[in-house]
């Protein structure tokens, strides 16, 4: 079975500081990993994904994520947070070789304080 854990319900960071939103996963074999962002009363918006290759993945709006196979993690990062980054962030996983629906974590609310 596939699963995703986002250990923090809420992350607070000051504007201009680096931010990290944590994600760990469990899957049989190798994973496909995804990050999405959700602004209030909106659908989920794709940020980035890891398929294969370079462990550091760059995505939209200056976000990046690092795949760490030994720690089964895929943490989302940004060097300098903006107030407009405040939103709900979801990590999702699917096993390679499968076409099953993505399995999502419960989400982490990021608040960037000016």
């Amino acid at each position: 079975a596939q699963s995703v854990a986002q250990p923090e319900d809420q992350v607070n960071v000051a504007e201009g500081n680096p931010l990290t939103v944590k994600c760990t996963y469990s899957v049989s074999g190798n994973p496909y990993l995804f990050w999405y962002v959700q602004y209030p009363n909106r659908g989920l918006q794709f940020l980035l994904k890891y398929i294969t290759g370079d462990n550091l993945v760059k995505g939209s709006y200056g976000f990046e994520a690092e795949f760490n196979k030994s720690q089964t993690s895929f943490h989302l990062k940004k060097p300098s947070a903006l107030v407009s980054d405040s939103a709900l962030y979801f990590c999702a996983v699917r096993a390679t070789g499968s076409n099953t629906p993505l399995v999502f974590g419960k989400g982490t609310r990021l608040s960037v304080i000016a």
Partner: protein, 113 residues
């Protein structure tokens, strides 16, 4: 750009009513999905479909059914709405490969009174 549209952003229905939520995608995607989102519970998969006239149960199918008569359209049906089905409903679509991204619609916030 991929576009996934949902028929309503906000919907208010009464207990016992039959409710239809419509989703349309314009990218010829094979796969379509319905999720519901509740605070503290994240996204939970209700039903999905890999092709026209095909459907698969997700994690929480009870009280719901779906219809996919055309490739671009995937409907979620609440046969007899109940107050515990008050939620945000999200539709998504993707191509048929595991590496493909799921793209989401804007969501329908359903309130059942």
């Amino acid at each position: 750009d991929v576009k996934v549209t949902q028929s309503s952003r906000y919907l208010v229905k009464r207990t016992g009513e039959k409710v239809f939520l419509e989703c349309v995608q314009d990218m010829d995607h094979e796969n379509m999905f319905w999720y519901r989102q509740d605070p503290g519970l994240g996204l939970r998969l209700i039903y999905f479909s890999y092709d026209v006239k095909m459907k698969e149960k997700g994690d929480i199918p009870e009280g719901y059914s779906v219809s996919r008569e055309k490739k671009e359209r995937f409907s979620l049906i609440l046969e007899s709405a109940s107050t515990n089905q008050t939620s945000m409903y999200l539709c998504a679509s993707s191509n048929g490969q595991g590496r493909d991204t799921q793209y989401f619609g804007p969501g329908t916030r359903l309130t059942v009174l």
